[in-house]
């Protein structure tokens, strides 16, 4: 027995213990599990472990430890720790269990050495995260959760079909580099693209995350998209298509975040934007770019969870998330504001924050490869990030016009502030001491973020973006609107499709109903009244079609008129004949079926 466990096992078994304990003991368990998992990580040697045979032909590899999986595992466990502190006051058991199952299955994906194991954890993630959306228990949340799970089931199916085709083609289930080479790899890529929220497959994220609970959204913001980033970094590095997919995400996220009113939905669109940077990095595929994508995922989880926590704290105290209904909260929620500002500075890549030391690697990688268009668009997007997440989010929630709301920050559970403080500290820590993060990246790092050049240029970019924000402020006034996204297809478009199909489908349905529910039962009922006579009528009718004899015709009429009054017992020979005929009919149809249809 080895001295370590698969981290997924710690979380999933731990999740099952949560309902069994209460109060202080539960809090200790929740915070203790990530700590245990963290020390467990330190104890895991590189290589593959926990390999099991499955059904004779497959091998399930639960633990493939290398630098790429470890960097994601570290941040997932740190995130679970911060999330557990943030959720320590929560009484709703199902949310806590779901959150731990979700975090655990994400770790399962990260350490999966083969596609089958990956797929199993992929699906647990989908279901656990759906529970987090359902848990808000509003009508909007329930509907969003149903849409969410359906999109993820579709994504999971694409992935599964891709995996099976890939296995049929190569005979290998190994989860390694595959690249975009054919239908199988394209299907796998599509399945992952759903979870990475690449438009037009992204609407599930901004539809469901803002409808989740205060705690749920914090967990959701971290895991699904980043496991997808990890999977892409493992299986599709250097795929040029991803470079452009990432650029679309980056721009798309900004445009929608600018238009959106709900603060948590603004932050959700900014997830798409930030994950876009990582996807571009994976598309570029150089060691610098992959390092950039991995480290940016690390930093992104910290500041995005922090931002979601501060928006969650506002929701907790005021019950509101719409920017139009908020404003002026700096007066009564200064700590939430302060931590939120650290997150905002970090997402905008201010020097001394995590964003500055990580995102810039991706932009530099584009510069180093002299991909001018990508570099220009990433730089544009860097300015846009500051605009929509860096200034817009804090400005409209905490400043702008005074909403008159004065929630008492002392009513906020202390643990929520502690969790925010912890993440704010880490955001600054990896900004000031990037070396610690650089040490655990997949490839050796020679990148130096703190050059005079880089600092001054980045500050110019950001400060002049701020100038643009305040000069154009009147165009950024919040409106009470929602922003139409590709979820229109299944929220509105599907209705039109149904309307169009209703007439032909309704007609067929009615016809089938008449045939199977009226004609056939009526016929059988008629036949059963006097089978012998009915049989005779049928035989005469067949005979009539060949001979056309008047005599037979009148005989049928007579028989029909008398039906079924002349019912009488069958003679033995008539009975045998009837049975033999039916039997012959049965044999003939069975023969036709087996010979020609099977």
């Amino acid at each position: 027995m080895s001295s370590f466990l698969p981290p997924a096992a710690i979380f999933i078994l731990g999740a099952l213990l949560i309902p069994l304990v209460q109060g202080r003991l539960r809090q200790i368990l929740m915070v203790g599990l990530p700590v245990l998992a963290f020390f467990n990580l330190l104890n895991m040697p590189e290589g593959t472990h926990f390999v099991y045979n499955f059904w004779g032909t497959y091998e399930l590899t639960f633990l493939r430890v290398d630098k790429l999986s470890m960097v994601f595992a570290y941040i997932f466990v740190i995130m679970a720790f911060a999330g557990a502190i943030f959720a320590a006051h929560e009484k709703d058991t199902k949310q806590l269990v779901a959150a731990f199952l979700y975090a655990g299955s994400s770790l399962g994906v990260v350490f999966a050495g083969d596609f089958l194991t990956l797929f199993i954890f992929w699906e647990i993630m989908a279901f656990a995260s759906t529970v987090l959306v359902f848990a808000r228990d509003t009508k909007a949340a329930r509907k969003a959760a149903f849409r969410y799970i359906q999109v993820h089931l579709l994504g999971g199916l694409l992935l599964l079909v891709g995996i099976l085709m890939h296995y049929a083609e190569t005979g290998s289930m190994a989860f390694d580099y595959i690249g975009l080479t054919g239908t199988a790899s394209a299907l796998i890529l599509l399945g992952i693209a759903v979870n990475a929220a690449i438009p037009p497959l992204s609407a599930w994220l901004t539809d469901a995350y803002p409808e989740s609970t205060v705690i749920g959204t914090v967990f959701l913001s971290a895991y699904t998209t980043k496991t997808a980033v990890y999977t892409l970094a493992r299986a599709y590095p250097g795929t040029e298509l991803l470079m452009w997919a990432g650029i679309i995400m980056v721009i798309y996220g900004i445009v929608f975040a600018i238009l959106e009113n709900d603060a948590r939905r603004v932050l959700s669109y900014s997830i798409i934007n930030q994950v876009g940077f990582m996807v571009v990095g994976i598309g570029i595929g150089t060691t610098l770019a992959i390092n950039g994508a991995a480290s940016h995922a690390f930093a992104h989880i910290l500041y995005k969870a922090l931002l979601m926590m501060s928006a969650g704290a506002v929701l907790y105290l005021t019950g509101r998330t719409k920017s139009t209904q908020l404003g002026g909260l700096y007066k009564s929620m200064p700590w939430t504001l302060l931590f939120g500002l650290v997150g905002a500075a970090s997402i905008s890549s201010f020097p001394l924050t995590g964003g500055f030391t990580t995102k810039s690697m991706i932009v530099s990688a584009a510069g180093k490869e002299h991909i001018t268009a990508i570099w220009l668009l990433l730089t544009l997007a860097s300015a846009g990030v500051f605009l929509h997440a860096g200034i817009k989010f804090p400005y409209f929630v905490f400043f702008a016009k005074d909403s008159g709301l004065r929630p008492k920050e002392s009513d906020l559970p202390k643990n929520m502030l502690v969790a925010m403080g912890f993440l704010a500290f880490l955001c600054i820590f990896i900004g000031v001491y990037p070396g610690l993060l650089y040490n655990i990246l997949p490839y050796p790092v020679t990148y130096e973020p703190y050059t005079g050049d880089h600092i001054v240029m980045q500050m110019q970019l950001l400060m002049f973006s701020a100038l643009a924000f305040f000069m154009l402020l009147k165009f950024l006034k919040r409106t009470e609107t929602l922003t139409m996204d590709t979820d229109w297809i299944y929220r509105r478009g599907a209705k039109y499709v149904v309307d169009i199909l209703r007439v032909p489908i309704g007609w067929v349905h009615n016809k089938l109903g008449v045939i199977f529910l009226e004609r056939i039962p009526a016929g059988l009922y008629w036949f059963s009244k006097n089978p012998m006579s009915a049989f005779r009528i049928a035989t005469y009718s067949v005979y009539l079609t060949f001979s056309g004899s008047e005599q037979i015709k009148s005989r049928i009429q007579r028989e029909k008129a008398a039906y079924p009054n002349n019912a009488r017992d069958l003679s033995l020979s008539q009975g045998v004949l009837l049975i033999l005929t039916l039997f012959a009919f049965f044999i003939a149809s069975a023969y036709v079926y087996l010979r020609y249809i099977m």
């Binding site: 238009l259 510069g367 180093k368 001018t372 730089t379 300015a383 605009l387 001054v456 500050m459 701020a466």
Partner: protein, 81 residues
């Protein structure tokens, strides 16, 4: 914490913040000439490239978003009801 908030609420401090902001913009444009640049593209070495590019980017993003929102994307809150 309350003291800090009160401090920033004073009108003269508000003005000071504003002027510090403008001052920092000027400072960033000047300090550019005193640092060693190693750009990936020749155009990125032009003076004030990042300032101009950042400003134009933001203006462009706001304009494009607003237009898209007005003519197409923004709907009433009960759109999906």
């Amino acid at each position: 914490m309350n003291k800090i908030i009160e401090f920033f609420e004073r009108p003269q401090v508000g003005k000071m913040v504003k002027y510090t902001f403008y001052g920092s913009l000027v400072f960033l444009l000047i300090v550019e000439f005193f640092i060693e640049k190693h750009p990936y593209f020749s155009f990125a070495a032009l003076p004030a490239f990042y300032a101009v590019y950042g400003f134009i980017s933001c203006a462009l993003i706001i304009a494009v978003s607003k237009i898209l929102g007005k003519v197409w994307l923004q709907k009433g809150e009960d759109y999906y009801e």
